[in-house]
């Protein structure tokens, strides 16, 4: 396999994901070894997330970034929708850039189309939940070279997969959870193939993928918001 990534964004993700509380939870759960520790990261706030509507206001006042997107599942869906908008917008810009030809172009177009399908599904889900779908954010992406774009795409997809994983345990509705899981593994597939193209490991976290909490993810995407 290729050497582990040294991308500063991913390193930051890991640092946060490997907080001692999460590691303790993991070890308590599996009795596992250090090599496989920390995959429960970003689930340290489960207890707060497993709330009913009555405590959602508390989440808002305690600075939960998801509260800005809506209450409960709606907040999670709109957060995911915002990320999917960013991904779809990114691939649309990449396709227009003309940086890719042949098989790579076809792959990127397919991935972009799937992100758009996620956007459409999450928009419908937000409405089904009785909410207002999050608006498409304005974003700008550096598109200087094919090599840099592949690297950025890999970073975006690894982050997207980690974002879904970080929310899975907080979703209340079984229908929303089932949909989120089927999108989550699709993002994992995107991440894997882009990691291959970028010369990064297929499974950078090892046998247990790590989740990322909303604040971490939003901090990571902040530089791309116009």
């Amino acid at each position: 396999m290729t050497a582990p990534t040294t991308d500063p964004q991913r390193s930051a993700l890991r640092r946060i994901a490997r907080d001692p509380l999460s590691r303790r939870k993991f070890l308590a759960l599996t009795g596992g070894t250090g090599a496989s520790a920390a995959f429960l990261a970003a689930c340290g706030d489960d207890d707060d997330d497993e709330t009913t509507t009555s405590t959602t206001d508390e989440m808002a006042t305690s600075g939960d970034p998801l509260a800005d997107f809506g209450e409960g599942d709606l907040g999670i869906v709109n957060y995911a929708l915002t990320l999917e908008y960013l991904e779809a917008g990114f691939y649309a810009a990449v396709a227009k850039s003309g940086l890719f030809k042949g098989n790579e172009r076809a792959l990127i177009e397919t991935i972009g189309k799937q992100e758009q399908e996620h956007v459409d599904a999450l928009t419908a889900t937000a409405k089904d939940l009785g909410g207002q779908p999050a608006p498409e954010p304005k974003a700008e992406f550096p598109l200087d070279s094919a090599k840099e774009v592949v690297k950025l795409a890999a970073t975006v997809e690894n982050l997207g997969a980690a974002a879904y994983l970080g929310q899975a345990a907080a979703i209340q509705s079984p229908d929303v959870l089932a949909a989120a899981l089927s999108i989550h593994s699709n993002e994992g597939r995107h991440a894997a193939v882009l990691n291959v193209l970028a010369g990064e490991p297929v499974t950078p976290d090892g046998a247990f993928a790590m989740g990322a909490d909303a604040q971490t993810v939003l901090d990571e995407v902040q530089p791309f918001l116009a």
Binding site: L181, A191, A192, V193, V202, F208, A209
Partner: protein, 212 residues
């Protein structure tokens, strides 16, 4: 749909059980009913609802069985596939080690929850290792199946900690699936929404690889 519910009395009991779980199960069961006929859905429901608190351990043992199969598959592939080299050889080694980590973690978790881990099944991979292409095709089957199995079972887990665990594993299965597909020249992510399978569908799919 209504007709199917009437012909499977077990479905009527859904609403008196756990409502949040029932909505998901209902959909899966009705899908199975559509595919295999309503009579096939009865046993699925009985298993799902007769267990109460033991449900999570049963789901973990179901996952453990799959992981045993995957670990054994890569282990045998590393010894038997002629001419393995380059990235595919790397995948066999790395992915096989990761499946074994899943086996170990699931077995330990089952014990922590007071359950007894199932034993590794006897396996028969037939001609899967005849050459690299045949191996890759079978590996795609296993990894895609793993993704669909976890995605199908995870929403039924009562414990949110275990759900997070399963999520961390299923993403790795999805990554394996994509890399193997890409190496085989197949679309790495064939669908925007990975399909789910229920336990009976998964068991049917792995049946050819279980030693009789």
């Amino acid at each position: 749909m209504d007709q199917k519910i009437q012909s499977a009395p077990e479905l009527a009991s859904i609403e008196v059980d756990n409502v949040s779980r029932s909505a998901f199960l209902m959909r899966g069961v009705l899908a199975a009913g559509a595919a295999y006929g309503a009579l096939a859905t009865g046993p699925i429901l009985r298993r799902a609802f007769a267990q109460g608190g033991a449900g999570d351990v049963d789901i973990l043992n179901f996952a453990l069985t799959l992981e045993y199969l995957e670990a054994a598959f890569y282990d045998a592939a590393g010894k038997e596939v002629p001419g393995l080299s380059g990235e595919v050889a790397d995948y066999v080694k790395t992915f096989g080690a990761e499946e074994q980590e899943h086996v170990d973690a699931l077995a330990a978790t089952i014990k922590d929850h007071g359950g007894k881990p199932v034993k590794a099944p006897g396996v028969d991979f037939g001609d899967s290792f005849a050459d690299v292409d045949t191996f890759l095709q079978t590996a795609i089957t296993f990894e895609d199946l793993g993704v669909s199995a976890y995605n199908g079972a995870a929403p039924m887990l009562e414990s949110k900690d275990l759900l997070a665990t399963a999520g961390g594993i299923v993403q790795v299965e999805a990554r394996h699936a994509a890399a193997i597909r890409f190496a085989a020249g197949e679309p790495p992510a064939p669908e925007a929404f990975d399909p789910t399978l229920n336990e009976d569908e998964v068991l049917e799919a792995v049946q050819p690889f279980l030693a009789s």
